[in-house]
């Protein structure tokens, strides 16, 4: 099965007009790929469906806005993939 990064990158390329080959593990979803909030909503919907989870994007945004977490923690591709893998693992563990 493809890695979480590859699956998310595919989703972003299919949902937005960002070319797939421009999406790297170090890409910042907003700053580098230029994804706006509405496109990000579509991407989150596609991720929720593909992984069977509920990405807590509101909580993430609040953490970043409050200065409790750097934006990179959630919005750089390799970190986003890691967060998604954590959510999938938590769900599998019944969390």
């Amino acid at each position: 099965m493809a890695s979480a990064f590859d699956r998310i990158a595919d989703i972003i390329a299919e949902t937005s007009d960002v070319p797939r080959d421009k999406i790297t593990p170090d890409s910042h979803v907003i700053e580098d790929l230029g994804i706006d909030s509405l496109d990000f909503l579509d991407i989150v919907f596609a991720i929720d469906k593909a992984f069977g989870i509920k990405v807590p994007v509101e909580a993430w945004t609040q953490e970043v806005n409050a200065g409790d977490a750097p934006a990179e923690q959630y919005f750089v591709m390799k970190n986003l993939a890691a967060r998604i893998e954590e959510l999938v693992a938590a769900k599998a563990a019944g969390g």
Partner: protein, 151 residues
């Protein structure tokens, strides 16, 4: 329906955790028909989309017990299948497709006399009410159209 006031839903017929059915009767007269179209009055397609969005919004309001306000953010796969003229009684249905974090996706559908009128997939952002006046107005409107437990 009061088209010029964007009050599209007349009465909620049924509401459950994941779906809502409502009724909306197109008025015989409206300033909207003066322009759309002279001599051939039709409900504009964008107002049919708005009608599906409002049914979806009331479904989400009921689900969260009026804790957050839904705002239309996206429309996918909208199909306007039939013309709708004055006096038509519409059945408006909204069903939950996905309840996300700060947003929801619904399937909207309108029919009249068993005939499909339009359908679309709608994305709504859900945000804390930005003004107490809006929350009060939404609660009052929901009560007026018979949304159970809205008051």
């Amino acid at each position: 329906m009061r088209l010029e006031y964007f009050q599209m839903i007349d009465r909620v017929l049924a509401v459950g955790p994941e779906s809502l059915t409502a009724e909306a009767t197109v008025p015989e007269r409206s300033p909207v028909f003066e322009g759309h179209f002279p001599g051939h009055p039709l409900v504009p397609g964008v107002l049919l989309v708005e009608t599906m969005a409002q049914a979806s919004g009331y479904l989400l309001l009921a689900r969260c017990n009026f804790d957050r306000m839904p705002f239309l953010a996206g429309v996918r796969e909208a199909k306007l299948r039939s013309f709708v003229g004055p006096g038509t009684v519409l059945t408006v249905e909204a069903s939950l497709v996905h309840d996300g974090s700060g947003y929801a996706v619904t399937a909207g559908r309108i029919s009249a006399g068993g005939k499909r009128i339009c359908d679309a997939e709608l994305t709504l952002r859900t945000l804390p009410f930005p003004a107490p006046e809006l929350e009060a107005a939404m609660r009052a409107q929901a009560e007026r159209i018979g949304l159970t437990g809205a008051a």
